[in-house]
């Protein structure tokens, strides 16, 4: 009874807070008669979103696959990089400064150049999403791989297991919690990367919708797109958490007795 009440309050309290905030917002924009293009009321945003529902599906889809494309690419590139860095001191010396340098370059500044070189299609957005997302995966995976208890490595060596076997059976699974915390940061960054790419130049995607809506003073449409983008980011983050729970069930908190 007490437990279910606690569980209820875990969702009910933030939901109620959100509802009150939205209600106050609605009330304020009606009472103060704030113009729609300055600050649209929640009801106006909802109405606009409903009207745009079919077009929104199309644009969301574009942004989603740009995001996921960049995210997938960053995993494919980051994991081997992290492995090289951990296994070879030479590679570490050679690659690490470059990776940090790449991370230090402001991606928003690079994006226009990238679009110029690669073109205005979806590929350039995938690349921008990749560029912002891969760094946390490299760093966290490398940290995780380096954190293997030395005893386990000695044990594997004493059993004369190959380096590859030790990697597959011990080191990589041991690094999974780190890998996933990198993924959680990376997935939200990938959404930002895709939108930044769309801002620079595109004719599709939610970033494009926001940009064109603001140039036509359609603030309520921009708001609807922003909310949709946030929802996508939250859903993707949740999906990564879910995959983590499925892949690493041993990390879940122990059942209370």
């Amino acid at each position: 009874m007490a437990a279910s009440l606690r569980r209820l309050s875990r969702y009910a309290v933030p939901a109620a807070t959100l509802a009150v905030a939205v209600a106050l917002w609605e009330l304020a924009s009606r009472v103060l008669r704030i113009p729609k293009f300055v600050m649209p009321a929640p009801s106006e945003i909802a109405a606009e979103a409903w009207e745009w529902r079919y077009r929104f599906i199309e644009h969301s889809w574009v942004t989603l696959y740009e995001t996921l494309g960049g995210f997938a690419l960053s995993i494919v590139v980051a994991v081997p990089l992290a492995t090289l860095i951990v296994y070879s001191p030479w590679m570490r010396r050679a690659l690490y400064p470059l990776i940090v340098l790449l991370q230090a370059v402001p991606k928003i500044a690079v994006a226009p150049v990238l679009l110029l070189v690669i073109g205005y299609g979806e590929t350039s957005k995938v690349i921008v999403a990749f560029l912002v997302a891969f760094f946390p995966i490299v760093v966290d995976t490398a940290t995780g791989l380096a954190a293997t208890p030395p005893e386990l490595l000695e044990l594997s060596r004493s059993y004369r297991a190959s380096a590859f076997k030790t990697f597959v059976k011990v080191r990589f699974p041991m690094a999974l919690p780190f890998f996933f915390s990198g993924l959680k940061v990376a997935i939200t960054l990938a959404v930002i990367g895709a939108v930044v790419g769309e801002f620079i130049g595109s004719d599709r995607g939610l970033g494009y919708v926001i940009l064109s809506a603001t140039s036509y003073w359609k603030t309520e449409l921009a708001f609807a797109s922003m909310i949709l983008l946030s929802l996508i980011a939250i859903l993707l983050f949740g999906a990564v958490c879910l995959v983590e729970r499925l892949v690493c069930p041993w990390l879940a908190p122990a059942a209370e007795e």
Binding site: E154, S156, S158, Y159, C248, W250, A254
Partner: protein
């Protein structure tokens, strides 16, 4: 079975200084003997185990196991560390089977033996649990089962009970003896508990630090199976006084030298 002759070990620290960890170690361990290495921290006990396991090369002298020179890890060795270092995603049973798996043996063929070992160490019924659901003592039992699974003739134990509370520690010592008596093998056991060293061993190797040297090798002439009552035996007390004296004499000598 194990023969160390004039073994030296020097290693380089991160800052580039040379440190002498072991100096002129000569030691013979017979087949199926239980030998404990005791001494204060920094006397190179753990380094000695790694040399025997072939995990790190000697800087001088020779290490032979069964007349062959040890240069690299060789089969037929089980290692137990101070921490259990189990794989958190594997069940108790699969953690025990890890050694067979890494040795390239078919884990399925070792299942029965793994279950027997677990039952023998009082872990029957816990086979499907995860390491985090076990106490420290139980986790260490799993680690010992893992080392015993391929039935190695040499068992290297590096302060295996060092992280356990005193009561569990004593209990585990007797358990290990029971297992060893049922199926003899050569054991090299590092500890810094003097009573533990005497209670378990056929031979106690007393070491002193800076650099690590053998102070003396005591043959423990106490009846087996060993019991708790032995600790009140006058002979036991004499041994423990002797070990203590050797360790503290070393300490005093170094103190005066400075």
């Amino acid at each position: 079975m194990i023969r160390l002759q004039g073994v030296e070990k020097t290693y380089r620290t991160r800052r580039g200084d040379l440190v002498r960890a072991l100096e002129n170690i000569t030691l013979d361990v017979a087949e199926n003997e239980f030998v404990t290495l005791v001494g204060p921290s920094g006397c190179g006990k753990s380094t000695l185990l790694k040399l025997v396991a072939g995990l790190t090369p000697v800087s001088g002298g020779t290490v032979r196991v069964r007349d062959s020179l040890v240069r690299a890890p060789f089969p037929d060795v089980g290692i137990v560390f101070q921490h259990p270092v189990l794989l958190p995603w594997r069940t108790v049973l699969d953690n025990v089977l890890f050694s067979a798996d890494m040795l390239g043996l078919d884990p399925q063929r070792y299942r029965t033996r793994a279950l027997e070992l677990l039952a023998l160490s009082g872990l029957g019924g816990s086979e499907t649990r995860l390491p985090r659901e076990l106490s420290g003592g139980m986790q260490q039992r799993v680690a010992i089962c893992r080392a015993l699974l391929p039935d190695p003739s040499l068992l290297l134990m590096d302060e295996p009970f060092g992280a356990l509370d005193a009561m569990t520690r004593e209990e585990m010592g007797f358990e290990l003896l029971r297992i060893w008596e049922a199926r003899r093998k050569t054991i090299l056991f590092v500890t810094h508990s003097i009573p533990e060293a005497i209670l378990l061993a056929d031979k106690v190797v007393v070491m002193t630090p800076g650099p690590g040297r053998l102070a003396r090798v005591l043959t423990i002439d106490l009846p087996r199976p060993r019991t708790v009552e032995l600790e009140f035996d006058t002979k036991f007390k004499a041994y423990s006084d002797e070990v203590r004296e050797l360790i503290f004499a070393g300490r005093k000598a170094r103190g005066n030298g400075r």
